[in-house]
Amino acid sequence: MSSKIMSLEEAAGLVRDGDRISFGGNVLHRAPMAMVREIARQRRRNLRIIKTAGAHDIDLLCAAGSVASVDAGFVSYETEFGLAMHYRKAVEGGQVIGNEHACYTVICSLRAAASGAPFMPVAGLKAGDLLQVADYFRVIQDPFGGEPVTVVKAIVPDIAVVHVQEADDLGNAVIHGPKFEDALISRAASKVIVTAEKIVPRSKIRMRPDQVDIPGFLVSAVVHAPRGAAPCSVEKAYDADTKAIERFKKLKAEEIDIYLNEYEMKDRGFKVGGLR
């Protein structure tokens, strides 16, 4: 079986302008930031982002002007870092459509996609203005005679990007610690890019196949990306880099390139086959 290892730049090339794209991780944890930065450096446009709860990933891509819409339950840094101001301004300025979801309705949209269904029931979404303003929700009759139920439309991401601790060259990926919705988005999306702290031998993965969270056959590209979630955290590898986040948060949108350039060497490392 042939290796799916690619450079970060090549893998980012799988992302097309206008793609629906879903990122793994949750808020400041295990977001695939190296790939997010590379997508911004490659000036991808009109991306439609899907994530239950995002922060730096969505904020950065909004700052870079790469985003058309965001479907999310929550977009904000955690308490001490405050709001995702680039996202906020982009929505308020009309450049980005902020589709309000509950985190769970994002999950249900992805479950629908993963199971090939056009929609998914959301038992708890019973009231509120969302049912009026959002065209991805509908209230339908229960054909078995119960109460009407809200359903949410499937969202099939064109591409999912997930950052993990370990993967082999086939894409079999192991997540340590909280897995969030990463496995779900890998099943919902048409293509999957795995970025990994460490590329491990296939034989190591075969020692504990039951520990694999994303099977390689779903994966299109594997990128060796040490510190690939920084400045977000990765369980057992590194904690969030609060100084880098604070520095980013002070940047204006027009200064984002400075930030992207700072990370460029670290993110891209040496080419495949070379040292890192």
Binding site: H29, A53, T79
Partner: protein
């Protein structure tokens, strides 16, 4: 308690939240939720040893909440937990009626118990885009008792009518830096005033006419609670939002 310092509002809030929890309750808190996280740990240590603590990283009943300073979704919650029960299953649990209490945020609340976490102004052309309701839109209708906490009690927050109804439902209590509201008979009622505040202050900072049955004050934290808080939250994350 050291009287020279006096009770801190964050301690009053956390203890008030903890006392709302009963033994064996299944309780969830989300992201940016240090105060509920500490309140749940406090309840487990004081009066609710069988409380089930659920959270975003999926750690059931974490033994420690000391590490994730900037986060209430850090991996310590799983690493020190007794089992893994990921977020999507917590939501499912609430959908099927199995979640007792959900702690949720929000930015605007009105007298009729509506919650806004989405936008100020028009939904499609918002004046202010808020972070979003996270779990609220599905948890407030389905958790048996939804508790909201808010450290900034002002007239922009407590309004006659919210700009946008993100959700409504089983709202039970709102714990603020000034008081506790209870939602009953279709309205927010002033339940208790923190001893650090006053009826006048609450009224002056609330955008709707206060309703109350009687004037009550939120009990102060006990010495046992304060000493337990110091133990389970030595780095004072409960004060982060203040």
């Amino acid at each position: 308690m050291n009287k020279s310092i006096g009770p801190r509002v964050c301690d009053i809030m956390v203890c008030a939240m903890a006392r709302l929890l009963q033994d064996e309750d299944r309780v969830f808190h989300g992201v940016s939720s240090q105060m509920p996280m500490v309140a749940m740990a406090l309840a487990r240590h004081i009066h609710a040893p069988n409380l089930v603590h659920l959270n975003i990283p999926g750690g059931v009943n974490p033994a420690s909440i000391k590490k994730p300073s900037y986060s209430s979704a850090g991996s310590e919650l799983l690493a020190t937990g007794e089992a893994y029960f990921p977020l999507e299953y917590v939501f499912d649990l609430s959908m099927r009626g199995g979640l007792d209490v959900a702690f949720l945020g929000g930015v605007q609340f009105d007298v009729a118990g509506n919650v806004n976490a989405s936008v100020i102004g028009d939904y499609h052309k918002p004046k202010v885009r808020l972070p979003g309701g996270a779990g609220s839109a599905v948890l407030i209708p389905t958790a048996k008792r939804a508790i909201i906490w808010r450290t900034k009690h002002d007239k922009r927050t407590f309004v006659e009518k919210v700009d946008f109804v993100t959700t409504r439902g089983n709202l039970w209590k709102i714990v603020t830096n000034l008081c506790v509201f209870e939602f009953k008979n279709g309205s927010l009622y002033l339940d208790s005033i923190h001893p650090t505040s006053s009826l006048e202050e609450v009224a002056a900072n609330t955008g709707f006419q206060l309703r109350y049955d009687e004037i009550r004050y939120t009990p102060l934290p006990t010495e046992r609670e304060i000493s337990m808080l110091r133990q389970i939250d030595p780095f004072d994350y409960r004060a982060k939002e203040m």
